[in-house]
Amino acid sequence: MIVLENFFQSLIAGLLIGSLYGLMCVGLGLIFGLMRVINFAQGEFLMLGMYGAFYVFSWFGLSGILGPVLAALVSSLFSFGLGWIIHQFLLSNSTGRAVAGTEGDGHYQQLILTLGVSLVLANGALLVFGNLPLSIRTPYASQAWELGPLADDGMLMFFFNQARVMALLAAVVITGATYLFISRSRIGKTLRAAADNPDAATYMGIDVTRAHRISFSLGVAITAIAGGLVASYYPFQPYIGLEFVVIMYAGVVLGGLGSIMGPFWGGLIIGIVQQLSALVLPMQLQNGTIFVLFLLVILFRPQGLFGKNVERV
C-alpha cells in the first residue's frame, strides 16, 4: 500500500514539475522549430525569468494564489524584450537568411555565440544579484489539497500542493494558447511559413529576419514564464540555468523537433521519469537518468516521438 501511495504521489509530483518542464521545452522548441537555431543561453533566460518573477512579486507585493503566476507573466515581458534586443544585435548575423547555404549553415558560429551570451548572462546575474539563493515563498507553497482517504483500509492519501497545481494550470493554459497562436493566427502562420521555406517566404513579402526575431523572443519569453513558475519550487541562483539546459534539450529532442506540442510531452515525460526514478535511485543519479535518457534518444531515435526534422548521416 505504501509503495502504491509513494508511486502515485511521485507520479503526481512528476506531472506537476513535468508540466513546467514541458512549458520550458515549448519555448525552446519554438526557437528550434521555427528558427533552426540551437540556443545555449536558453537556461540563462530561464534563470532571468526566475529573478524577474521574484522581483516583480516582491516589489508589487502580489498576493493571492495566482500571485506567482502573475509575477511570472509580467517578468516574461522583460524577457521578450531582452530576446528581441539580443537577436537584433547579435544573432541576426549568424542565423537565418544571412547564413543559409554557407558552410554548416552558420551553426558553428551561432552555437558559440549563444555560449558567449550564456556566459555573459549567468555571470552578469552573479554580478548584479549575488549568489545568495532566492525563492518565491507564498503560504500556498506549503498548503496542499488532499485527495482521499481512498481504498478499503482508508490508508491511501494523495496531496496536491496548491502553489504547484496553480503553476501546472498556468503551464497548460499557456502551452495551449501558444499552440493556438502558432497554428491558427495569421502571425503564427507567417512564422511557420518563414521557418518552412525562408526563400519562398521572402517572395511572399515576409520579412524572414523579423519573423525569426519574433519567434526567438516568444520562445525566450515562454521559457521565462516557466522559470518564473519554477521559482516557487526551488531556491535558485545565477548558475541554475545549466542544470535546466540539458533537461530542456532532452525534452525537446524526446518530444520531437519541428512540432509545437511534442516538446511539451517530452518535458512532461522527463518530469515523470525524474520523479519516479527518485523512488529507486539515490538523489545524485536522478539527473543522471535524464542525461542517459537524452543520449539514448539522440542516438537511437533522434526524431523523437512526434518530430519531423532529423539531421543524420
Partner: protein, 235 residues
C-alpha cells in the same frame, strides 16, 4: 510598368547576366526562353531581389528598385512563383494561400481572390486541408500560382513552371496561365525552357543565351528561322 535596363548580375561567383534589358507593359504577356544556364532564373531572381543585380536599373512604375530589399519588392505588386514550386510543405493548402496575402490590399481582397483561385484550380479546393508537401508536382505548381495570385499582383512572374512535370500537366498549367491572362488584367512574365509552350500565348518574347539577350520580338518572328534551334542545340 516593369522595365529592366542594362543590368548585370553574378550568381555563385560567375557572371550570369550581361547587359540585359527586358520590358513588360501593363496587361502584357512576356516570355523569356533560352537553354539551360542561359541566366533565365538569375534574371527572375534579380527582379525579385534574391540576387543582387548591379549596374543598370530595374524600374517599376518609374521607380528604380535595384537596391530595394527582396521582401519589400514583393509588396509592390510583383508576385513570384519560383522555380521548383517552393510551397510551404508543412502548411495546408489553405494556409499556403492565406499566407500569400501579405499586403493590406491583398488581405482586403483575400476572400474574393480565394474564390477565383478555387474556380481556376478546383483541385486546390478539394485538397484545401491537406499538407502542401503531400500534393503531386502539378498540384503544387497550381498551389504556387494560386499563392502568387493571392497577393493581388499587377505582375505575375513564373519561373519554369513546367520543370519536372509530365507533358499533360504542363499543358493544363499553361492553359490556366493563359486563362489568367485573358480574364484578369494581370501582366505575366513567363520564364521557360520549353519554347513552344511559352511562345504561343505570349505577346512578346526574349531569347536569353549565355547571360545575354540573343533575340527578341513577336512570337511569329521568333518561331521562324534557325536561330532558335542554334541557340538551344548549337547547330
Amino acid at each position: 510598368m516593369l522595365s529592366i535596363e542594362g543590368i548585370h548580375a553574378s550568381y555563385g561567383g560567375l557572371k550570369a547576366l550581361v547587359d540585359v534589358s527586358v520590358k513588360v507593359d501593363e496587361g502584357q504577356f512576356v516570355a523569356i526562353v533560352g537553354p539551360n544556364g542561359a541566366g533565365k532564373s538569375t534574371l527572375f531572381k534579380s527582379i525579385s531581389g534574391t540576387v543582387n543585380a548591379h549596374q543598370g536599373q530595374i524600374l517599376w512604375g518609374g521607380e528604380n528598385i535595384l537596391t530595394m530589399k527582396a521582401a519589400h519588392r514583393a509588396l509592390l505588386g510583383i508576385a513570384h512563383v519560383p522555380e521548383g514550386r517552393q510551397v510551404f510543405k508543412e502548411l495546408s493548402v489553405y494556409e499556403n494561400l492565406e499566407v500569400g496575402a501579405q499586403s493590406p490590399k491583398a488581405r482586403a481582397e483575400a476572400s474574393r481572390n480565394l474564390e477565383q483561385i478555387y474556380t481556376l484550380f478546383p483541385i486546390l479546393k478539394e485538397r484545401s486541408t491537406q499538407l502542401a508537401g503531400t500534393l503531386s508536382g502539378g498540384e503544387q505548381q497550381m498551389l504556387a500560382i494560386g499563392r502568387g495570385l493571392m497577393s493581388a499582383p499587377k505582375l505575375l512572374m513564373l519561373d519554369e513552371p513546367s520543370m519536372g512535370l509530365a507533358p499533360k500537366i504542363t499543358d493544363l498549367i499553361f492553359e490556366r496561365i493563359q486563362e489568367i491572362h485573358r480574364d484578369t488584367k494581370i501582366a505575366i512574365l513567363l520564364v521557360e525552357q520549353r519554347v513552344a509552350e511559352a511562345l504561343s500565348p505570349c505577346n512578346y518574347g526574349y531569347v536569353l543565351r549565355s547571360g545575354q539577350v540573343a533575340m527578341e520580338g513577336s512570337p511569329d518572328k521568333l518561331t521562324h528561322g534557325d536561330d532558335m534551334r542554334e541557340a538551344y542545340l548549337g547547330m
